[in-house]
Symmetry: D3
Subunit: 248 residues, 6 copies
């Protein structure tokens, strides 16, 4: 039993509120335990310079990640003069993960920026950003009003992410901060709703890990991602952009 009464393969309680703010077409407040993230998605009818002259024109999806100062205790100093390495790494991961399920030609010559601002941090912020960011992205894409634009053609799959780790030789799903800080191995798995890997990052924070330990972690993550995909589908309701969700 874990310190918060979860079983090893339990996700934390998770809630999603769409339309939390109204200036961005996608605005999702997602909470998992004591981790809270505001994911907003904005549409810009322009593309980066290196996409300007593509034929046919294609779009782009990018992400930014930031922790608010009050999201941690003690307070986190604001990144005002530079972006630290961890932040850069995370926002690149979020961007790559979201792009993996988008058809840029169907999106057309526009850029969607998904901002993941962590209001409260208790572990798992990068994976929750991907899971919530996908919902904000769908809301932003379906808000596009353009004759001839078909938002359902934009998504080739859904995407979600979860962490898994080894703590005291036991494999645990969805680590919170207190677990993460003592984990021997910490892995972040990004998968599509259809069960394919998008990204896989496993790090031995202390010592190393074996083939067998890797396999066990991947299996537990796969089950967690399936639950998250169901949650995304339920939350989005008729905005869900895919026909089916694969059974695992």
């Amino acid at each position: 039993m874990r310190h918060d009464q979860r079983q090893p393969d339990d996700l934390r309680p998770i809630t999603v509120e769409r339309g939390f703010t109204r200036q961005s077409p996608g605005s999702v407040l997602i909470r998992a335990g004591r981790t809270t993230i505001l994911c907003t998605a904005s549409v810009d009818e322009d593309v980066p310079p290196w996409k300007k002259y593509e034929d046919p024109p294609t779009g782009w999806v990018t992400a930014e990640y930031n922790m608010l100062p009050g999201s941690t205790s003690p307070r986190k100093r604001r990144d005002r003069n530079k972006v630290d390495g961890r932040t850069t790494e995370i926002q690149r991961l979020i961007g790559r993960s979201l792009r993996a399920v988008v058809d840029f030609e169907a999106l057309g010559a526009r850029t969607i920026t998904v901002d993941c601002d962590v209001l409260e941090a208790d572990g798992g912020t990068r994976t929750l950003s991907i899971t919530g960011g996908f919902i904000a992205l769908v809301d932003a894409v379906t808000s596009i009003e353009d004759p001839g634009f078909d938002s359902r053609r934009v998504f080739t799959d859904s995407v979600a992410a979860i962490s898994v780790g080894i703590v005291d030789s036991q494999i645990l799903l969805d680590l919170d901060y207190s677990e993460d800080s003592i984990a021997q191995v910490d892995a972040n798995i990004v998968m599509t709703g259809s069960g394919q890997f998008v990204e896989l990052q496993g790090t031995a924070e202390r010592g190393t890990f074996s083939d067998a330990e890797l396999a066990a972690q991947l299996k537990m993550a796969r089950a967690g991602i399936h639950q998250l995909t169901l949650l995304q589908q339920e939350t989005l309701g008729d905005k869900w952009p895919l026909d089916t969700i694969r059974e695992i």
Copy 2:
């Protein structure tokens, strides 16, 4: 009648949620119309270098202000390499305003940082930051557990702020963005609960203004601040740090 059915001297509908996040001892989500701000207050048991050797030791209150990228449409670019002039000006105003009602000797040798992160911007973000920031500050101060520390001695008064402006020759309270962007005069008034000025900034954005116009604006602002003070008192309940609230 204004575009949103308000009378000239009406505030926008305002809601406050205390304890919105849990990592910071003060965490207030304050919404006025479509302006939404998360004010968190953190306590650091240390003081700035220039306060280190004071006898008796005294504390400090400082503020930071930031607009999230998704708070505006089109998306606001993140300030990652520098802080723009407007941001600096606003966070200095918030800090000065909160410090005006704090007794630093009673606070003791600790620093409280009030972070005002704008989740949604529709005008009046700096004044709403002060009004909400005061509530977060009170929550942070009353969270301090230290024998011999008396949180009720820290506050000499309460503080709140409101904007007032001249639009089409008419004086209006609590301008939203659409009103602010066409105002001839824009003033921000910071007052204590007991009706004294803390700060007064009036700017003729187009043309100039007379003595009489100034007087009329100040009168309307004073009434608005009284309503905000009552709201602060009601929200804080038995955490309200002052004995009485003066009638105007």
Copy 3:
């Protein structure tokens, strides 16, 4: 009697030297007591990007403010990696104040930059920058040689500024540094030659202030600004761009 033998409503002795340097069309060395500022105004036959496509084309006036390292004792460290908040605030104020009396359509598609470099600082640098900057601006505008350009149509009014404060419960005009550093209230007033407010910033540095105290400060500032306007008119002689100066 004040420490330098002034009455409460006395300005400091003030001198102005036009044409102090010769590379800029406007170059004014203005001294008030031991505060010395070099205001230069340069004309650029171009406009900011957001003005490029205006029809009819209109111009722009902007200001920069800087304190030289030797202007204070101890020496002020040079701002080489960033601009501090106070500097930003001041140069934004100077720019807004000068723009309040300029007709941008009459100016035409050009930008005038007014640089206020403080050579010696003893209080009141921001207000003296506005008073001197207006003179440099007039010199720069009248230097423009362009058939069809009428420099007299550019100015709708003149502008000057002064500080006023409360020290030991007494209201004082034009505070020097030693007075400013112990003032309970410090206000900067920017007015036109015709007696209208352009900007009004009052801050309670210690405690707060009442309606009556505000009124008394404004009255004293108004008289000071009238004297400064007369000085500007006398200094500029036949370059004075306005027909009359209003009695107060």
Copy 4:
């Protein structure tokens, strides 16, 4: 057959020159095909601030990565005002990988910095930095002259790294730039000489990948790392800090 006549599971020809420069105790020029990296390791008899008060005192290993402008065609602009995200990500990976095989208590209160400067880039720079950086690290550690310091106790294992990817549905080892730029999946595997994972990063650059594809990549990488470990052992000769090398 690959464009450079390699079989899918062939490494590129690899050479190592120890002592390439003489100011750093570890200085290794490592070349794999047309990728050339200078790895230097410096010893500082000090530790980062957060290690100052540890008891018993322990050391630290950190890494920096940089591409020289002439390492690519067209020339790569020098990172002089900021470090780009990719650079940060890579140098964090190198540092974590080297630390995984070091016993910080045996190292004692000193910091070793491994600098990986890419002189010529043709793919695989991050993995070659780890493989070469380990050799430089060993040279630096064995150069420490301190009675009571036993360099053989510092290393718990060796570490090396290799890339593996899927190009045209075929799994390939040690991708060069031309292969990497068209890969569907790109994975970087860091393993110890004894065959344990240290880090595993798999990214679907285009599309996604399955469990089976992951397994095949890991198997090929494992064999490549074994070859690299043998090379490290042969290069270091009697400086090799471990007793045995495990058969796979």
Copy 5:
């Protein structure tokens, strides 16, 4: 005859005003033709970190150089985010030149910073900064009130500087901007009052130069520096820190 009626070996008319501002103990406004520089020298009773533990304690002299925006036409953009290469080069030269004539042990554990702010630039700003900076430095040193400090022991010599160049195959002294911009060779010579070289920088801006051309330039510079030394001596009057001035 030159465009301003000078002979080839004529200096421009030069004036010096000591005590131009009053916050710094040394404050010199020096004008040569249309080049105007404010040199202020400040005393800090502290030394740089690398001098803290010297025994006997010794002092330091450093310099900063800056061009004001209004010093050139068109206006020079302010260096606010970085210092450009030319500025760095010049301020390092000024610092080295002044240090060449200072006895740091006699100065004692204090730092003097000489700020050279160019108010008006018409060529020769770096050499005029050295010539004027020496005067400000002497004023700052003689202002030090410390029993046991003997300001006359601080200076081992005086220092001044001048430019010399080749324009249209003719050697010219003290080039103004219009001459400098077409010079084939541009040299800056820093010498002591006793006729020794401190620094010598000759650059062929177009083509190259011979031994004979170098010798002719040095001879003309030497005569110019002698005149500048006499001017420094006359300006400083009884503050002149040296016993004699050598005839050349």
Copy 6:
């Protein structure tokens, strides 16, 4: 006899390896004693903005200089947030020196960037960068394939550089770090193969120097540069872009 058995006018043993890396058309590893520099030269078929509209179109040559962290002991911190003054000064010198022998019209509208990365520093890095940079520049220019481009017309002369200094009253050629750090005078001389000065920088690091001392240094430097020119000619073989080399 010097500490490394050289005579006062001996150069250090020097070796040059062309084509050290293969991504840049010019790539030269040059070693003099324990100073090692990688000079790469890259061709960009574009010109800086201020050259865009020249008629006839002309090219540009620029240089960058950088010391790798492992080039010194103790390790040199990487310049990642700013370029220090010394670096800027050196790379400007290298650029000016190389440009002195290039005919920009013959080069045509292209930019060549010469990067000098110091792998190992033991004094004389700036002069060795010029000597080696010239070889890399020739290799880059002769690599240009463009009908109508004649690489032999690009060079008007060759260029090389050497340091000379006064140590213990003795004039020494090609100072290493141990000599440079105690030199009274340190001069860097840049000359063409035909014996003309390009640049001359002499600095009295301690005290000053006389006319006679200057003359003796220049004579010794001239002989050293002649040897370096012969080495450049031999190294480049039939790529040597000039017809003859002048006897001294």
